[in-house]
């Protein structure tokens, strides 16, 4: 019990220290983009990215935050990948997994760039 409490305390500390709660609105926006809109849009994509840039600048978010977010996106993409009908990959449609994969690509590029600059 003590170990679990310790882990939770540590995790909360980590989240606070790295300001991970700032990821919640970004996560909500990405989920909204993928779930609510059937077609991908650069305006939404670059809008959300600009918002994330703002968060990075305003709250000094580190690359660890962006890379952890990429990890979350990887897991989401993976789950969606397992759930997606394999035949969809051979059709010109864009399944949700593809939208998540593009987000993963973009956040990974961003996170690595951040880390390189740090």
């Amino acid at each position: 019990m003590r170990a679990i409490t310790g882990f939770i305390t540590k995790s909360i500390g980590f989240i606070k220290k790295n300001k991970l709660f700032f990821l919640i609105p970004v996560f909500v926006l990405i989920m909204g983009d993928v779930i609510l809109f059937p077609i991908s849009s650069d305006i939404r994509i670059f809008g959300i990215l600009l918002f994330f840039f703002y968060l990075i600048k305003r709250f000094a978010l580190t690359s660890t935050v962006t890379l952890l977010f990429s990890l979350l996106l990887l897991i989401l993409t993976y789950v969606m990948y397992l759930w997606t009908d394999p035949l969809l990959f051979y059709q010109p449609l864009v399944p949700a997994v593809e939208r998540f994969a593009v987000w993963l690509y973009l956040f990974l590029v961003l996170g690595i760039y951040q880390k390189w600059r740090e």
């Binding site: 890379l67 990887l74 993976y78 010109p92 864009v94 690509y105 390189w116």
Partner: protein
């Protein structure tokens, strides 16, 4: 001490994996089984010598009407295969060793690259971790779809799966160490595997090397921070161009010929836009980022095992203290190649991709998800190896072993379809459970030997007739070969195997068969210079086992085996060979027009723009004199007088001259003409090409031995030769050829020359030499290559002496 023991264990593991990978292809095929099919086929593994002679020594290709194409790049590779074949006499062995080389080379050199790149970050205590990261990267690459998915129908350039890592490693070592030994080895590899460095197979070449060389140059400049060894690079480039001159120069010459297919594809302004961009737009939806991140074979049941690689990569980034220049560079190239192979990364990305198609030649990447996959898999593997080490460096060695085994297990599981050989044994598309793995029928081998031994050079038509330029040969097991025609590529004879081969009469041929107009079919075959019919009555080679592919169109005209036998019976003459299911029959001798003939009548015909000429009119009416030629009226106007061409038929006046012809090699013929008192047209039934030239020799022609005669002796066929080079090879140099305006297209495909008494200075008896002058370009460039190879060998010897 423990560290040394662990390093030893890892090295043993490395060698055991290499041995297992080498043995793996031997488990896919049982002794005696062959796996040769595909678009470019692997008939060169069945008989490298025959393939070398038929495809590489001459600029005229075997198959159909003799297409002009520079395939000399195959010579060194096929020569090496020929040496191995002459020792072991086993295509089974050649196929397996070739596949084994791909697997071991791919694995070992990716391992070496990763270890080399990690060297600056590895101390003695972390050597095992680096080795294990390299091994995992090697396994990931080797078992990836980029290596395995195409192995069952591997093109000649498929060697890139191991050549890419080999070349990358050798160039890397050369640039890192400035050691000329590596430069020399790099050049040697390029020479031995010239098919991968030819300009006629550009996508694999231009997808990998520009990116790889750019990566290495930036690495040396910004990571190692040393200058590039420009002096050695200059020597290397000059030697490369020299030793590869024998295929580069013919291809360049061929490309700048606007009538060539390659020239049209590359140089015409509309080519990039129409072919490249339109195709790209059509297939854009097939580029999937997620499939490339979770990179494995397209089997739903293995998808869950694909998380390890991207997970290790993100963990590696998270755990690395900082991103150094080397990792930043590697990451950049990974992202660039992922973008190139996926395309669908934001609308802005797609628009940028579309703009790339305005670069001349970029149209070759229109199947972007296929053409970039090899370079992507390469950078993905190296990045995975690098970042695996970052993760491993944080763990205890025991944990690293466990994790490595688990990850390797995932690779093996997700690639089991390839490792087990199931991919190779998968049923051929459109067949009833026939596979690509065949046991060749000894009767078929005897048929090939018979066809090869036929002394005249009449063409062959193969039945069953496919929809493509393929031939289908069934094995004694439930396997079959589908690929380029063995009749052509293993015997060197011109043949027709499918719908595409028989252009421009493709539709007409099938229509005449449907209409059961066998007389017209016989006349069509005669005009195409078809003298023999090769017929496989093997039920495994037709509808029963291949109901959908590759016979869709032909099956509409000839619905089953019985109809096929009836067709062959209706158009063929006497049988001259039979062994098992295989028969060789003569075509209708009365309609047969030899390779060279002088038409008694030339018929002008009209064409309408964007409409196929009425070719049916050539054949539907029987003619008392089969020696005829058909010429398009506007062409006729430019050769003859316009008044002459208004006639329905242009008769050759004053009796037909007698011709005796002899093939010196597929690019050169000698024709003796006698009794040529009046102007006449000489038809040569090879595919029309402006580079076929006709020379009238001023010297007395040599006496030609007559082996066959047609039309009461007015056309005679001599014993043919296959002389690649002798004292007379360059005899036409300096001789004036018949002017180009007297060379024209007849019969929809063939060459013809209008020859007047003035051309022969009034002589009635003389010798003509018909030559494909592109072949000269090969002779000259081969001479450059021979000199360059001598310099290259001396350079190698000097490197050894310095050591």
């Amino acid at each position: 001490m423990a560290s040394y023991a662990s390093i030893f264990r890892v090295k043993i593991t490395l060698w055991v994996i290499c041995i297992l990978l080498f043995l793996l292809p031997f488990l896919w095929l049982k002794p005696g089984e062959l796996e040769l099919g595909g678009d470019s086929s692997r008939l060169y593994l069945y008989d490298p010598g025959a393939f070398l002679r038929s495809t590489s020594l001459y600029s005229v290709q075997p198959g159909n009407n003799g297409v002009v194409a520079p395939n000399q790049n195959l010579i060194p590779y096929l020569f090496v295969l020929k040496i191995i074949d002459s020792i072991f006499h086993s295509p089974y062995l050649l196929i397996n060793v070739s596949n084994a080389l791909k697997l071991v080379g791919a694995f070992f050199f990716v391992y070496l690259i990763v270890v080399e790149m990690l060297k600056p970050h590895v101390d003695k205590s972390k050597e095992s971790q680096a080795d294990l990261a390299g091994i995992l990267a090697g396994l990931f690459y080797t078992f990836s779809p980029s290596v395995g998915a195409n192995m069952h129908a591997a093109l000649l350039t498929h060697n890139q799966v191991f050549l890419n890592p080999v070349m990358f490693y050798l160039i890397m070592k050369f640039l890192f160490t400035d050691n000329a030994k590596y430069l020399w080895l790099t050049l040697l590899v390029t020479f031995l595997f010239s098919p991968n460095f030819t300009l006629i197979a550009p996508p694999p070449l231009f997808a990998f090397y520009p990116l790889a060389l750019c990566f290495l140059a930036l690495y040396v400049k910004f990571v190692i921070k040393k200058s590039l060894p420009w002096k050695y690079i200059f020597i290397g480039v000059i030697l490369f161009l020299g030793i590869h001159a024998f295929h580069i120069i013919p291809v360049v010459s061929y490309t700048f010929d606007k009538s060539s297919y390659l020239g049209q594809r590359l140089l015409e302004a509309t080519a990039a836009k129409n072919e490249g961009l339109n195709y790209f737009n059509a297939v854009l939806g097939l580029g999937k980022v997620s499939k490339n991140i979770f990179y494995t074979y397209s089997l739903p049941e293995v998808r869950w095992a694909t998380l390890a690689v991207p997970l290790m990569i993100i963990l590696g980034y998270l755990l690395s203290k900082r991103i150094g220049r080397d990792l930043a560079l590697l990451t950049s190239f990974f992202f660039v190649t992922l973008f190139l192979t996926s395309a669908n990364i934001t609308q802005l990305g797609v628009e940028i991709y579309r703009k790339l198609f305005s670069i001349p030649g970029f149209g070759m990447f229109r199947v972007f998800y296929g053409q970039w996959q090899w370079v992507y898999a390469f950078f993905y593997s190296v990045l995975f190896g690098y970042l695996s080490f970052v993760v491993f460096a944080k763990l205890r060695l025991r944990s690293v072993y466990v994790l490595s085994v688990i990850i390797a297990g995932f690779f093996i599981y997700s690639s089991w379809t390839f490792i087990s050989g199931d991919l190779l044994k998968a049923p051929l598309w459109g067949s009833n459970n026939m596979t690509n793995i065949m046991k060749i029928n000894p009767d078929y081998e005897q048929s090939l030997a018979f066809l090869k031994a036929i002394p005249d050079d009449g063409k062959i038509i193969n039945f069953p007739f496919t929809d493509y330029a393929y031939q289908l040969i069934a094995g004694t097991n439930n396997g079959a070969y589908i690929g380029v025609s063995p009749t052509a590529y293993l015997t060197g004879r011109h043949d027709y195997s499918g719908y595409q081969d028989i252009a421009p009469f493709s539709n007409l041929f099938l229509q005449l068969i449907k209409d059961k107009n066998y007389g017209a079919v016989r006349r069509l075959l005669g005009l195409l210079n078809v003298k023999y019919i090769f017929y496989s009555a093997d039920p495994k080679a037709y509808k029963q086992f291949f109901p959908a592919f590759p016979y869709g169109l032909f099956l509409e005209a000839v619905p089953d085996d019985k109809a096929l036998a009836d067709l062959v019976g209706s158009i063929a003459g006497p049988k001259i060979f039979e062994q098992g299911y295989y028969r060789v029959l003569e075509a209708d001798v009365k309609e047969y027009l030899p390779r060279f003939y002088i038409p008694a009548t030339v018929y002008p015909f009209d064409t309408q723009e964007k409409k196929e000429p009425d070719y049916a009119s050539f054949f539907t009416t029987p003619l008392s004199e089969p020696r005829v030629a058909f010429v398009e009226r506007t062409v006729c106007d430019s050769v003859f007088t316009a008044q002459t061409c208004t006639q329905h038929a242009i008769e050759t006046t004053g009796g037909l001259p007698v011709v005796t012809y002899k093939r010196i090699n597929p690019t050169k013929y000698r024709v003796q003409v006698s009794g040529a008192r009046n102007p006449y047209t000489l038809v040569f039934s090879d595919k029309y090409h402006s580079r076929w030239k006709l020379y009238i020799s001023k010297k007395e022609g040599e006496e030609l031995q007559v082996n066959g005669s047609y039309f009461d002796g007015s056309i005679r066929e001599s014993a043919h030769d296959d002389i690649f080079l002798n004292a007379k090879t360059f005899e036409t140099l300096g001789m004036p050829s018949i002017p180009d305006n007297q060379h024209f297209l007849v019969n929809g495909y063939a060459n013809a020359w209008y020859i007047t008494p003035e051309d022969s200075s009034g002589r009635e008896q003389y010798e003509i030499i018909v030559e494909m002058v592109e072949q000269r370009v090969f002779y000259y460039s081969a001479a450059i290559s021979i000199v360059a190879i001598c310099v290259f060998l001396l350079y190698g010897a000097s490197i050894l002496r310095k050591k």
